[in-house]
Amino acid sequence: MQILKGTPVSPGIVIGEAFVLDIEEYRMPRRAVPPEQIEEEVSRFEAAAAKVGSDLQADIAHIQAFLPDENLADIFAGHLSIMKDLAPQIVHSVREYRFTPEHAVSKKVRMIVKQLTSREDPTGFTTRLVADFTDVEKRLLRTLFGQRGAAPSGANLKSVIFARDLTPSQTIRLDRSKVLGFVTELGGRTSHTAILARAQGIPAVVGIANVTRDLSGGDTVIVDGSKGLVIVEPDEETLKKYRAIERNFISFEKRTADEMRSQPSETRDGIAVALLANIEMPEEAAHAREYGAGGIGLFRTEFLMFDPRNPAGEKEHFDAYRKVITAMEGRPITLRALDIGADKMVDDSAQQEKNPFLGCRGIRYLLERMDLFRTQLRAVLRASAFGKLRLMFPMVSTLDEIKQARAIIQDVRDELDREGSAYDAELPVGIMIEVPSAAIAADLLCAEADFLSIGTNDLVQYVMAVDRMNEKISALYQPANPAVLRLLRQVLEAGQRAERPVSMCGEMSGDPLFTALLLGLGLRSFSTVPSAIPEVKKVLRSVTISEARQMAQEALAFPDAHQVVEYLTERTKRIIPELF
């Protein structure tokens, strides 16, 4: 048993088999081979080894004929020797331990690599050896999977995905109905994996160094996404303990979801409150519906920028928006214009900024990149003819930015008019409130914004001047800080006075701890990861507006975040004791 500690980014507990996605995305199938199939697996491996052997011979011959470089040919000759030495050991593992050949190869090479890298390596000697071994491993796995076709036996099982990092393109290709949990070596709370995992309600732990190297596909693992623990090959006792917790957690989540789905989203005294979902990709709209979302409060569109050198065209934008409109069957959808820059730029070709969080991102970037901006605006406007769309801009800090953006929208409208393309002439255009200047002057920005949406993740970060990825100071990232709460109250009041709808789409709006407080401050539209909707609904259905106002008043009287959290915890506990 091995206990690894990482950063908890999505709560919950799961027990399952590890599924290692290495850089080439090979999947390591489950290891136990039924006894009657062992010899079949052995022959399958031997055929693969023979194939790799002849491939290597062919490579050597090719090099000798076309690239007369002795050293290069030597490398492949060396790989051939490694393989010949490895083959009987793999056959032994298949017979003795009933491992699949894939698992046996992976496990053996992981072991060698671990042994090699456990030493100091000032000359880079072992680094080169590791490369040789992993190269042989990849050749074998590629050939083994090749024989079996695209569906390795493990693909049908639910498993925990382990990866160094999950790129958006990898994430989107995963069959999410089969993912129990995520564990990655890189990433923080706002990494793509983390956001996606929370959106799906899938437990996830990030930031465990070397985890993919030290673990083999098929190992039994426990992922405790609440505490940030990953337990590899747990002992019986640990397993038993976690099975019990897992059952409770799942049953509580499921019970709440089932119980809440058909209940109206309103306070105990019958005041309607919008409960909307944040989604990352069009496919998640169905998920939002399952959890009873009344619409989409934040449709992030960065997935259209997976490959920044080759950004999506108007048709791809349009098709994606239509997909969500269709899935939501007339429910409102708030689409956020591309929020690129800082951490969200998925490509390193982005210009390096000294301080990207204070740099050219969100609306600032869009106004620079007229090509991207106009493509998106055309698609949004055209899609607006088919459903209830709203459009909002991220990172707005001045009134002038909204004016500029609106002028461009008008220009695009004129263009569509000339072409005779249909669009919603009343399409509401709003802004994210996530920069302190926008929050403080929200009343002034209302002149140009049809609605406001408070993005608490960035707002808290900017108000507290705390990078929440920085572990040393993460305790200062305080959504419950009186300064944050006062600012939220101010924004909500500004919206009310200007008669502009205000919603909230940060993590705070999905945390049941803050539900009653936010209601009391005047928030009537919460947008959150789909899986958090049932809990938030449960809280808001159990309070009246006057109780919530009372709570808000009391909470804002405390001098620091700790006392606020203590107070809110105590009050929320009475409503959902299971959460604490």
């Binding site: 030597d74 020797s81 490694i82 080169r128």
Partner: protein, 93 residues
Amino acid sequence: MSGGTVVEKTVTIQNRHGLHVRPATQLADLAGKFKSAVTILKDGQEVSARSIIELLTLAASHGTVLHLRAEGPDAAEAVDAIERLVNSKFGLE
């Protein structure tokens, strides 16, 4: 290894790039030609000289001292041959 004798000897890896894949292959091939079992010790780790993988896991870079141990009818010949190979820098330099 009936009637075998045990012969031991210490050698130092002298070629610049250490016991990487190619020299390890040569060493394993050579060790395989003898009837005696040859093992190599380094820092308490003992591996079979016939296995290229085990040899590589020694991570024996330039200057590493290896302890050879052969047991069997041709133990002395085996150890001598391996010593010559190592001292010749595996014919690489």
